[in-house]
Symmetry: C2
Subunit: 300 residues, 2 copies
């Protein structure tokens, strides 16, 4: 049963040209002879010239038909190519996937999923973007990303679909020598005297957001954006800082990570965001599944 898409007038034309017969072409195409006769007639009406000479035994291309023939073949070939390429897209043998993630998701969650994805679908070109959640969502709605890993997007979840990946708890990074370094968890109040190393001068844009909203006023210390620098400052005893669970595995060994009590900084939700639409791309669906898997492994 041939693909209905390929049953265009030109397919019929080519079949007839090759068979030099309406009847034979009809048989191989699964049509009746009358259908083929009229399809060719339709084609001839469209082109304004007869394409076949009707002979007592079959048909023969006219000169116009002979001129049309290579073009029809080219059209068929081109459509076949397109069909193969789109099929490749569907089966993830080719294509494009543009993902974005906030920084700490790049520590383990995203690379893990990405490695699995590239291993299974080496034909898909993957491009990456880094950024804060708000910016990534903007790129997503602008159609410049296919999927973004974001955190608690209170801002504007308009036109995007959120898929919950995991909830991560917060840790405090301390020097190994700190008195609290051996604790299983800690309250913010116990750290009121520490200098806090923040990623930004505005606490609303840092991990301290929820704590600040609850009334906690950290002693401001250095402002350090880079993760490696932050760790260095803490290790040197210049202050303490918050570390999300996703980044915990990337902490240098001379730091102690102590879990923060959930009442002080509740677990942070991490989502994969996709454009709102009836059908996510196969590539997006596959990557999302792998993200879920990776998130499951991290949560356990």
């Amino acid at each position: 049963m041939p693909n209905p898409q390929s049953m265009s007038l030109y397919t019929v034309f080519l079949r007839v040209a090759r068979d030099s017969s309406f009847t034979a072409a009809a048989r191989t195409l699964g049509y009746t002879q009358s259908a083929v006769s009229r399809q060719i007639q339709t084609l001839e009406d469209e082109w304004g010239v007869p394409l076949f000479d009707r002979l007592p035994r079959g048909v023969r291309l006219t000169e116009a038909g002979r001129v049309l023939l290579p073009h029809a073949e080219a059209v068929e070939a081109r459509l076949a190519t397109a069909r193969a390429e789109i099929e490749a897209l569907r089966t993830l043998a080719a294509g494009r996937l543009r993902i974005g993630a906030f920084a700490t998701a790049d520590a383990q969650l995203l690379p893990s999923a990405l490695a699995a994805f590239r291993a299974r679908h080496p034909g898909v070109r993957v491009t990456r973007a880094e950024g804060l959640s708000a910016g990534l969502l903007q790129l997503l709605t602008a159609g410049e990303l296919d999927l973004a890993v974001v955190t608690a997007p209170e801002g504007a979840p308009d036109g995007v679909e959120l898929h919950h990946l995991l909830d991560e708890r917060m840790y405090v990074a301390l020097p190994r020598s700190h008195p609290l370094a051996g604790r299983t968890d800690v309250r913010l109040a116990e750290l009121a005297d520490e200098e806090w190393i923040a990623g930004s001068t505005r606490p609303e844009q840092t991990l301290m957001r929820t704590a600040v909203a609850d009334g906690f006023r950290p002693r401001p210390g250095f402002v350090v954006a880079e993760w490696i620098a932050k760790q260095g400052f803490v290790a040197a005893g210049l202050g303490v800082t918050l570390v999300p669970a996703l980044a915990a595995c990337a902490a240098r060994p001379d730091l102690a990570l102590v879990a923060l009590h959930p009442d002080d900084a509740p677990w942070r939700a991490v989502y994969a965001a996709t454009p709102r639409g009836p059908a996510p791309t196969p590539a997006v669906a596959a990557f999302l599944a792998l993200l879920r898997q990776a998130a499951g492994r991290l949560a356990s």
Copy 2:
């Protein structure tokens, strides 16, 4: 008003892709928005994937759509090329014309028409075949000729259409010194004592055919096929021969041509033969018209 032929699904697809809008595409194509919407849906069903993302302000190509786009453009371009070539065929800016003619038609009738044809339609490639009427008709029915100039085809006018061009009378070629050289016409009986130079040993295949059928028995002389040789023999006084009117203009000046009485050799009909079919090629039609013109000039 666009050519209906070009209004395929792919044309609509391309227009929508360029306009990024169903509504705008519908306006320029002369459709309603709903028609475009469903045409795209049909295309998406055929390809099995969505081709456009529906946005609040228009649409945007999906990845599959972006893959399809260049192929659709190529298909359109190819069909446009085909359209141009077939149009060239119709307007005789290009094409092919295969003609054939019996020998004496090549003396003036056919070259005259051919010269006019090539002057008017230099883009048409013309090929020529020589032969006897019967063979030419065979080539014609075999589809290897488009037009043949033939004489009284009693044989088998099957599958060919005959267009009467002219009726030519017969002449007798005599040496200038011959007693009958000054006459305006002559009867065969007056030439009973002459040696007859024939083109073949079989009188049925020569110009003497009708005379032989009427009971005339010429004194057999040399058998000479080539026209230039025949003339030489007659000029040397070795005999007389029949000359059709079409070849009269090509007779060497030292010969005398005397018209044969119509009762002895009735005027010979010359036809243009074309394959029986509802529509002769434009090239054939044009050449036939020029043949008629040339025949008219010769008859007068």
